[in-house]
Symmetry: C2
Subunit: 331 residues, 2 copies
């Protein structure tokens, strides 16, 4: 291992001067900086993040806590978040929240991480409280937990859902089913509440038996659609908690031989790239997930660098994107 001391020796200066020169400290003369830089290049030296982290008291590693890495949704979160963090000089470390007492606590608590983005918070999670108690900065992404305050990046589903319901109700749908997300997530709950209240404005309501709940994954949509569409009198429209659920439902319908949208309309939420494919053409509620992911990166970095700034909550608008999985109900 090549250390700053080796560089110092070669450049004929002291170790601290190397440290300063390489971080472009104005107190070091240009001539010395050049000598040091040349020596560093000659030896192939680069500063040890570990030593640096120990000395500075914090690292430049941000943890992203998710439950389900297979879920394609998170691929579209990770990529832009990672790029933005890198741009800001930070690294992204993945953490799966397998259990409350699991590695999250261990990895997050010892200050291996300077901050955390929570992307799969449930409203009853203990993690936010733990992080707060230990003074680890964190940001809610997409989902929040009311119990503990923190910066957040979320979507306001109202505009999208309102527009969506206006359109499908206008085109004649009355019997509406839903496969919502888990009740213990803020997103699941918020989307459900919004749907119910907007339906109410239209003088409609969801029949209890037409409402299902489950994790935001393919299997939920796949199984849910089977349940709903196997009925004697299935709903003419199925609202899904998100796009991945809708993709499950769509494929379930295809497998059952139920024509979409002729026999049933299906709607998602997220507008993932897959949803726009010619073979899919999913009608859905869209928002800027890329920008959201980058904003989460910016917020956590800002919080890390200025822990006492006032809380920031960025909320992104949503809109309805009508594609080919919705139409008037069959007569």
């Amino acid at each position: 291992m090549i250390t700053s001391r080796d560089v110092a020796r070669l450049a004929g200066v002291s170790q601290p001067t190397v440290s300063r020169a390489l971080r472009d400290d104005p107190k070091v003369s240009e001539a010395t900086k050049k000598r040091v830089r040349d020596a560093a290049v000659a030896l192939g030296y680069s500063t040890s993040p570990i030593g640096r982290a120990l000395a500075v008291g914090r690292s430049t590693r941000v943890g992203l806590v998710v439950t389900d890495l297979e879920n394609q949704f998170y691929g579209h979160v990770i990529a832009p978040m990672h790029r933005e963090l890198e741009r800001l000089g930070y690294e992204l470390v993945l953490i799966t929240e397998s259990s409350e007492s699991g590695p999250v606590t261990e990895h997050v608590m010892g200050h291996g991480l300077c901050g955390v983005v929570l992307a799969t918070t449930t409203v009853d999670s203990l993690l936010p409280a733990r992080l707060r108690d230990r003074g680890v900065p964190f940001v809610y992404f997409n989902r929040t937990a009311q119990s503990v305050q923190a910066d957040s990046v979320t979507v306001d589903p109202e505009a999208g859902i309102r527009e969506l319901l206006r359109e499908v109700i206008g085109s004649g749908h009355r019997r509406i089913g839903a496969i919502f997300g888990p009740r213990n997530t803020s997103t699941g709950e918020q989307r459900e509440n919004t749907v119910r209240s907007v339906l109410d404005e239209h003088g409609l309501a969801l029949a209890h038996r037409d409402v299902l709940h489950g994790p935001f994954d393919f299997a939920t949509g796949f199984g849910g659609a089977r349940t709903l569409l196997d009925r004697e009198d299935p709903p003419t429209l199925v609202l899904c908690g998100n796009d991945v659920v809708a993709l499950g439902a769509l494929n379930s319908a295809a497998e059952m031989g139920v024509a979409v949208p002729a026999e049933v309309s299906i709607v998602g939420f997220d507008d993932l790239p897959t949803s726009g494919w010619a073979l899919i053409r999913l009608s859905t509620v869209a928002y800027d997930l890329d920008e959201m992911s980058r904003e989460a990166a910016r917020l956590i970095v800002a919080r890390v660098e200025e822990p006492d700034a006032r809380p920031r909550h960025t909320i992104y608008p949503s809109r309805y994107v009508a594609r080919a999985t919705t139409s008037s109900p069959r007569a």
Copy 2:
């Protein structure tokens, strides 16, 4: 920040004893261990990975170098690899190889990382040589570079491609087109060579104009299919470098109104979960990507813990999975 010294004070022992007790060193008495553990819990202490890494001389962080995080292929790599690494007590850090001189070098070189998995190596990449020169352990995943030896995890495409070609040629295809991956990747090259040599055994060859190349992404397949299918006399079968390319081709065909497989058959390579969807049903060459990803995790950890072990090369077999995007060519 709570340190081992705080725990030591509370437990009435010295700091080194805390260090030993918590790592279950047999030289510490059970009674002391208990006192230390209790104190640690009481204070909510967990050992600092940073301090530990500095003292031990290496971290427990493995870097995964990829170029294109949006690509769903990598989602299916990251998830199992991450789980396996976590099981082994290591962490996964994502690194995008934006440029040869970019952050890869910086992050990898200073011993922030104890090892690296290269998932998007090109045959002409300088990174393997650099890693070797600095003594950073690494493993090739999926792709290799001949110039520098290292452990590797790869797929042998031959069985799958052989079976695939036997079947489609048997069903009558003669005019075969291809959208291969980049020539400067071992996987792209190997799959192409295998296809050509097996075709040769059948007395067939690819027409020069029916062969395209491009990055392993959706756009390559989308654009490539458009090029091939816009012809007066398009191929009756299009072989794609991987599934993501095939999905692009499939959607391109759908958008052009070209029926699959009635007018053109399309085949991929990877068998991603998406390929099995009822709405997709892509015929493809399958192998155990999950297991491969875990094996890469195991190999890099083994290499890190025993740098001088003899090189290991794990090769996974492939097989053809016929689904709904292939049939006899139209008469």
